[in-house]
């Protein structure tokens, strides 16, 4: 059954969209990640214009992160003070990101930047997670305990703040910078940024794992809501129909995913996620390097043009 998407201006099979939503929802339920980093490339792959894929995906992430955040809030898993600092950085970052997006699109390099950003970040994060999960699997057998966190140069920065729930006394610059970096990515890559923020919170800021997911979801909810609004007003690239269909599939898929996830061990989950992240990264890298079928591409002229 075909449905015409009014903003993407194309018709797509409803069941394909529900299926995509379900698949990505299943994986996000299984691994506890947003799934934007999978959904945005998939949408572009089925022919949705990249700007619409990015804008709409931000809208869908609002929904999935709201329900996640509420669940963690009930379990006291949100550090609101840390979340607020991350969020301030995120709003600055995504404002800059939306304008950067517009500029890159005008000079014709947005697809390249999106792919390079994915390859770079997914590559680094995937490798780190893979190493970490292997190391912790080895450590579990050895039975050695790790220090709470290591002191590095980042702990010498000024403007220190106390974050009670995270049991930290660190410079506000650190979460501000992490939030801003994630905000830029939310605007440019159409992701929530959890795959980058969660490792940064654990390894860079040194937050306890119990509050990491909830706090990152708090930041993601508001940053993606803000990004959705900016994309809707600046670029008119948010397709409500598309977002709702993906959402419906995603909600159902996530239910099955989280059930399947309960049967697997933490390190195994992280190891699997790392392998998947590296696969997506490898595919994108291959597309950048392999000779394209047609060296030429078309784009509707935008500068000074009418649409």
């Amino acid at each position: 059954m075909q449905i015409y998407l009014p903003i993407a201006e194309m018709s797509v099979d409803v069941f394909l969209l529900l299926g995509l939503g379900g698949l990505v929802g299943f994986l996000s339920g299984l691994f506890g990640v947003g799934g934007g980093f999978l959904m945005t490339p998939l949408l572009i792959f089925i022919g949705v214009p990249p700007p619409v894929a990015v804008g709409t995906e931000a809208n869908q992430i609002v929904a999935s992160s709201v329900s996640g955040m509420i669940a963690h809030w009930r379990r006291q898993g949100v550090d609101f003070k840390m979340g607020a600092v991350l969020l301030s950085g995120g709003l600055i970052g995504s404002t800059g990101g939306v304008f950067l997006f517009e500029y890159l699109r005008d000079i014709g390099q947005i697809d390249l930047v999106i792919s390079l950003a994915y390859v770079f970040f997914l590559g680094i994060v995937g490798l780190l997670m893979l190493l970490e999960s292997v190391r912790s699997a080895v450590r579990r057998r050895g039975g050695k305990r790790r220090k709470l966190h290591h002191h590095t140069w980042v702990h010498g920065l000024p403007f220190k703040m106390r974050f009670r729930r995270s049991k930290l006394y660190i410079s506000a610059f650190l979460p501000l910078a992490v939030g801003a970096a994630v905000g830029v990515l939310a605007a440019i890559m159409g992701v929530g940024g959890g795959f980058l923020m969660v490792p940064a919170m654990i390894y860079l800021i040194g937050m306890p794992t119990a509050v990491v997911i909830g706090t990152s979801l708090f930041q993601i909810t508001f940053v993606t809501a803000y990004t959705t609004f900016l994309q809707a007003t600046n670029n008119q690239t948010v397709d409500i129909f598309l977002a709702l269909l993906l959402l419906l599939g995603g909600v159902i898929g996530a239910q099955f995913g989280s059930r399947a996830g309960a049967r697997l061990r933490g390190e195994e989950l992280r190891g699997l996620l790392a392998i998947m992240v590296l696969l997506v990264c490898g595919k994108l890298l291959f597309d950048l390097i392999a000779t394209p079928d047609d060296l030429f591409s078309l784009a509707t002229g935008r500068i000074g043009g009418h649409r």
């Binding site: 809208n59 929904a63 390097i289 060296l295 591409s297 509707t300």
Partner: protein
């Protein structure tokens, strides 16, 4: 049955009109099965039937042109092992949709001289450089003209792959078509052709041009407008997103938040 009656009625009309018309102009009269294509939910492309009658000898050529606009054509080059967009030429006057169908092979019906003069055929369209390496105002029809290929300047020669890529990519999207056939009914008076609009057809006002060509000359023509529009919920959503974009953005966020909250409630109960 009703369509046949309509064709017959048209034919009669055409014949009477032919009688009244000046002797030089060949009479051609045609009509479309619909003048308005509405894009609604479930739109997956559509066919529009064009039928008509022609008086006297001659081949029939049907050209369908979408609204014109600007288009960037970009060429990738390998830089440090990665393919990136390097050169861009912006063309003006590019029809968003173009199809040509003829009652005999187009090259035989429309010789190059006529094609250049009338712009029949994708290679002979009045597409001009707006910005880019080649000089502003240079035309693809000139760059692609085989007879002038030897004596053109370097800048025009550099355009050639861009012009060819424009036509090739548009054809791949189904938006430039050249394989259409106009078929005559026995007696060579009544003719018909099917105009195929794909699902990704751009909206706007199209013109449908019907030509009668004899001995390399256009001896009769007729133009019909055709409107392709979004209607229904889709049109309203699109208009709303563009006219009240701030409000639309807020609604999008609110809907998503509500959906997420609702999903959370369902999860908790189970």
């Amino acid at each position: 049955m009703r369509r046949c009656l309509a064709v017959l009625a048209l034919l009669c009309l055409g014949l009477t009109w032919a009688g009244a018309a000046p002797a030089r102009a060949e009479a051609v009269i045609a009509d479309l099965s619909k003048r308005l294509v509405a894009i609604t939910t479930g739109f997956a492309g559509t066919d529009v039937l064009l039928f008509g009658a022609v008086e006297g000898k001659g081949e029939v050529v049907v050209v369908v042109k979408g609204p014109i606009g600007r288009l960037d054509v970009r060429r990738k080059a390998r830089v440090a092992g990665i393919w990136i967009n390097r050169d861009t030429i912006t063309f003006a006057n590019v029809p968003s949709f173009y199809s040509v169908s003829a009652s005999a092979p187009l090259a035989q019906v429309v010789p190059t001289a006529l094609a250049l003069r009338s712009g029949i055929g994708a290679r002979y369209l009045d597409i001009a450089v707006d910005r880019g390496r080649a000089g502003r105002g240079e035309r693809c029809s000139r760059a692609l003209d085989p007879e002038r290929a030897d004596n053109t300047v370097a800048a025009v020669k550099a355009m050639v792959p861009f012009c060819e890529a424009l036509i090739r990519n548009k054809a791949r999207e189904g938006l430039f078509q050249s394989e259409g056939r106009v078929t005559f009914l026995p007696g060579r008076k009544l003719f018909r052709t099917t105009i195929r609009f794909p699902a990704n057809v751009p909206v706007g006002t199209y013109s449908v041009l019907v030509y009668v060509v004899r001995n390399g000359q256009i001896v009769g023509s007729q133009t019909h407008p055709l409107v392709i529009n979004k209607t229904g919920v889709e049109a309203e959503v699109f208009d709303f997103a563009h006219r009240q974009s701030a409000f639309y953005g807020l609604i999008a966020v609110a809907l998503a938040a509500l959906a997420g909250w609702g999903a959370g409630l369902i999860f908790r109960k189970q």
